[in-house]
Amino acid sequence: MISLIVNQKTYSVDADPNMPLLWVIRDIIGLTGTKYGCGVAQCGACVVHMNGDAVRSCVTKVSRAEGKEIVTIEGLSANNDHPAQLAWQEIDVPQCGYCHSGQLMSAAVLLRDNPNPTDEDIDIAMSGNICRCGTYLRIRKAIHLAAEIQKKKTPANS
């Protein structure tokens, strides 16, 4: 049994320690917002937060996640209102939507670490996330908007 903390809830899962965290989250815990896209850390559809870092859950063994704080897209905010989520909705970023759980999880880490990202900062932080529909220009725009929303939400930091 492996003990996992996902979105502040503790789960005890019976899984092969080598099983990627992605499949534990999706198929055992049942949180399907985190997506499978490539299985080899190329596309970013599976990005989750582990102790605050953006990690590719498709190549993270579940044993490595034991005892760590995992946050998935379902736990990014309580009401779909993280600044990045609000910005994504405002700009109608997604098309098919499949990659955007991972896009948002990468964007959330960027926005936390860099409250005023430039286009170049965004490109560097988001270059690991593929969007086959090609919504990249909107992703960039939405991250700038999210930075603005974030400032309004936390005036002390601005």
Binding site: N80, C96, G97, S127, R140
Partner: protein
């Protein structure tokens, strides 16, 4: 598309269908069907319940193109309800919703726009009639707004729900009065898409996300040599892995392509994948073990010498005697490419006796349920009435999910166990096994008169055939119209035009890829147009306009683009711009691309202008999103490696060796939508074909290097 007469429709659908069609109340509800819509198009429906709840059914699966909003929006506009008031439900291939529950060919709006309006308008009229009768007032004194009928002189109101019983007894008017477009509240306005919030918190359900109690997982080992099939297998080691339930044979069927693989069924996908590696399999390569695309492409070059099958022959191309110095010839090449929908193929199936239940992401729900002009249900192996489908949001369609090979295969596995099974393709599976967009090669010739006018144009396409691949009964002595898509129908006025097709035998599964063959032919055709402009010593924009003396959509759009892109403003020395257009079944879009040549001679794509001609537009912001995405996809196909085969196997495996465009590679994009009435044109595909030739033409303008082969490397042109 097969056209059904109304009579035939009644006969086909039987009792339930008649009830729906007549608008008869079902359990206190009224279901308004599109009896006014064109025959063969009994698709969109409104459901009004007596408590006032309104549901609009969307028959066009949502794959990112926006139909989850745009289809209901058109109905809601005329029905006088706001989108906030209605529940939108995707249909699942059910019989009463007809045989066009499918999304492809950029057709959802362009082929249904007026019919959908009539659906909403006719429904509105019966509610107004019902209210007027209840009040015993004249119909003309009543109007509808926000799901209510209002009696103008007294301000009395009835909600639609209050009128359900009465409205359900009325016959729907066949030619309802449509709104004046200037009164539109929804159509043509920017509105946020209702599926977006579901896509920002992980709650949108894609096929891969379906979970059914007791569900098992399966992965399939398929012949790595494309065209090969199973000879024998030994599952002894695989069965020793804890969690493995069963190992079975299963057939993949796609058109004429049949191949047997080995499915591992286990209690998790991870376990199934582990066990798949432990299988010992002998494959029968069926003679395809030596196949390689280098030799095949050489063969295509040779085939270019053949006369081929004539598609169009206007004027007298063959008898023109033009001096050799007035003739320009070129040969263009394009690669195979993979669809790479980010959601890999997957399907959940459960078989119970003679019934099957299917959960999947598909572009073709009514094909899967056998409710269309196809025989897919025969391959699935169940009577149409016994196939129950749950159609989910689609994590990318791009044409890949017009095919149901992965569904047939999943049902084939589910038949062999009693539990429901989720079959998932790995990224490697989706990359290595096709279907692919086929390569097309083009032989082009243009001829000028002594006066310097373009008088002759020939375009010969050499390629595998889609229709032959899809349909074993296709007559290969006929031109596969899909493979010469658009090339004989451009608006240019050239007195002598000949288009032709040389079919090349190909055993690899091929399929439509966003904008189908226009995705390659536009590159060849419009690149060559630029060569002709150069030969004529004319500006590429003016050269094209010079071939358009008569009014046409293309002429109008090109002129608009000339202004929009500031075409006539000179660019600095190290920069260049190119133009290309493409008009085909899906629509019309013109691109201008601006590039910079860096000091190291690599190319930077600076900016793309796109003018898309639509006739009518439902959600302009969504159209822009679609065109931006089409440009990104076109850029990827133009500059990233395609799919190649060696020793019968695909040489690419995943995104590390078959890369897609990433955020830092995307140019600035400016989209202009023309919605000036006239023919309604499509959105999803037209933004793609003209991008690559516009880019290649821009590179020529800046460097003098003519690019005749995709993909090309922007680092070293």
């Amino acid at each position: 598309m097969q056209q059904l007469s109304r009579r035939k429709f009644i006969r086909n659908v039987g009792g339930t269908g008649i009830a729906l069609w007549m608008g008869i109340s079902v359990r206190g509800n009224v279901i308004i069907s599109s009896s006014v819509a064109a025959s063969g198009n009994f698709t969109p429906f409104i459901l009004v319940e007596s408590d006032g709840a309104i549901t609009i059914f969307n028959t066009k699966p949502e794959m990112g193109q926006g139909t989850f909003q745009s289809i209901p929006a058109i109905i809601a506009e005329e029905f006088e309800v706001s989108l906030d008031q209605v529940t939108i439900k995707n249909t699942n291939g059910e019989k009463p919703f007809g045989n066009r529950q499918r999304a492809g060919g950029s057709s959802s709006i362009r082929t249904n726009y007026t019919d959908l309006r009539k659906v909403g308008a006719s429904a509105k009229e019966v509610f107004i009639q019902s209210a007027a009768a209840k009040w015993q007032v004249d119909i003309s004194s009543c109007y509808a707004e926000n799901g209510k009928v209002i009696h103008r002189p007294t301000n009395r109101t009835y909600g639609y729900g209050d009128l359900v019983a009465d409205a359900s007894r009325l016959e729907l008017p066949k030619e309802p009065k449509l709104k004046d477009p200037k009164d539109f509240k929804i159509i043509g306005k920017m509105a946020r898409r209702p599926d977006v919030p579901l896509k920002t918190n992980g709650s949108a359900q894609f096929g891969i996300d379906v979970q059914v109690p007791g569900m098992l997982y399966a992965t399939v080992a398929r012949s790595p040599v494309i065209g090969g099939t199973l000879k024998s297998f030994d599952a002894a080691e695989a069965m020793k892995i804890p969690g493995v339930v069963k190992v079975v044979e299963v057939e993949r069927i796609m058109g004429r392509y049949h191949s047997v693989g080995v499915a591992v069924i286990a209690n998790s996908y991870w376990t199934a994948m582990k066990a798949r590696k432990a299988l010992k399999i002998e494959w029968d390569n069926k003679g395809y073990g030596d196949f390689n695309t280098v030799a095949y492409e050489k063969h295509l070059h040779e085939l270019a010498q053949e006369e081929g099958l004539i598609d169009k022959n206007i004027g007298s191309v063959d008898s023109l005697k033009l001096p050799p110095e007035n003739i320009v010839e070129a040969f263009y090449e394009t690669p195979m490419v993979a669809h790479h929908t980010l959601e890999p193929m997957n399907c959940v199936a459960q078989v119970r006796g003679d019934q099957v239940e299917i959960w999947t992401s598909t572009q073709v729900p009514s094909t899967i349920t056998g409710n269309g002009d196809n025989d897919v249900h025969k391959y699935i192996g169940f009577q149409p009435d016994n196939i129950k489908l749950h159609s989910t949001f689609i994590g990318g369609g791009l044409g890949r999910r017009l095919n149901v090979d992965y569904v047939i295969e999943a049902v084939g596995i589910a038949k062999q166990v009693s539990q429901p099974v989720k079959v998932l393709w790995s990224r490697e599976d989706t990359t290595e096994l096709g279907p692919y967009r086929p390569m097309t090669f083009s032989k082009l010739q243009g001829g000028f008169s002594a006066a310097g006018e373009l008088v002759s144009f020939q375009h010969k396409v050499i390629s595998p055939s889609f229709q032959e691949a899809m349909n074993p009964a296709f007559d290969i002595n006929k031109v596969d119209g899909t493979m010469v898509e658009g090339i004989g129908e451009q608006a240019y006025e050239i007195p002598n035009l000949k288009t032709s097709y040389v079919r090349a035998e190909f055993h690899v599964p091929v399929a439509a890829w966003r904008s189908v063959t226009s995705s390659t032919l536009a590159f060849c055709h419009e690149g060559f147009m630029d060569e002709l402009a150069y030969k004529a010593k004319k500006d590429p924009m003016d050269f094209r306009l010079g071939l358009l003396s008569r009014p046409s959509d293309l002429k109008r759009v090109l002129l608009k683009m000339k202004e929009f892109s500031k075409w006539d403003e000179p660019l600095p020395k190290n920069r260049g711009r190119g133009v290309a257009q493409w008009e085909f079944f899906a629509g019309l879009c013109v691109h201008v691309v601006e590039i910079t040549v860096r000091p190291d001679h690599s190319i930077k794509v600076d900016k793309v202008f796109a003018v898309i001609d639509l006739g009518e537009v439902v959600n302009p912001d969504n159209v822009k999103n679609q065109v931006e995405g089409a440009i990104v996809m076109a850029l990827g196909a133009a500059v990233k490696p395609g799919i190649t085969l060696k020793d019968g196997k695909c040489m690419q495996h995943n995104f590390y060796d078959n890369p897609l465009i990433r955020i830092q590679e995307v140019p600035e994009i400016e989209v202009l939508i023309l919605a000036e009435g006239g023919k309604v044109k499509g959105v999803g595909e037209p933004g793609l074909p003209a991008f690559a030739p516009a880019l290649a033409n821009a590179i020529f303008a800046a460097t003098g290097t003519r690019i005749r082969k995709m993909p090309f490397d922007l680092k070293q042109v």
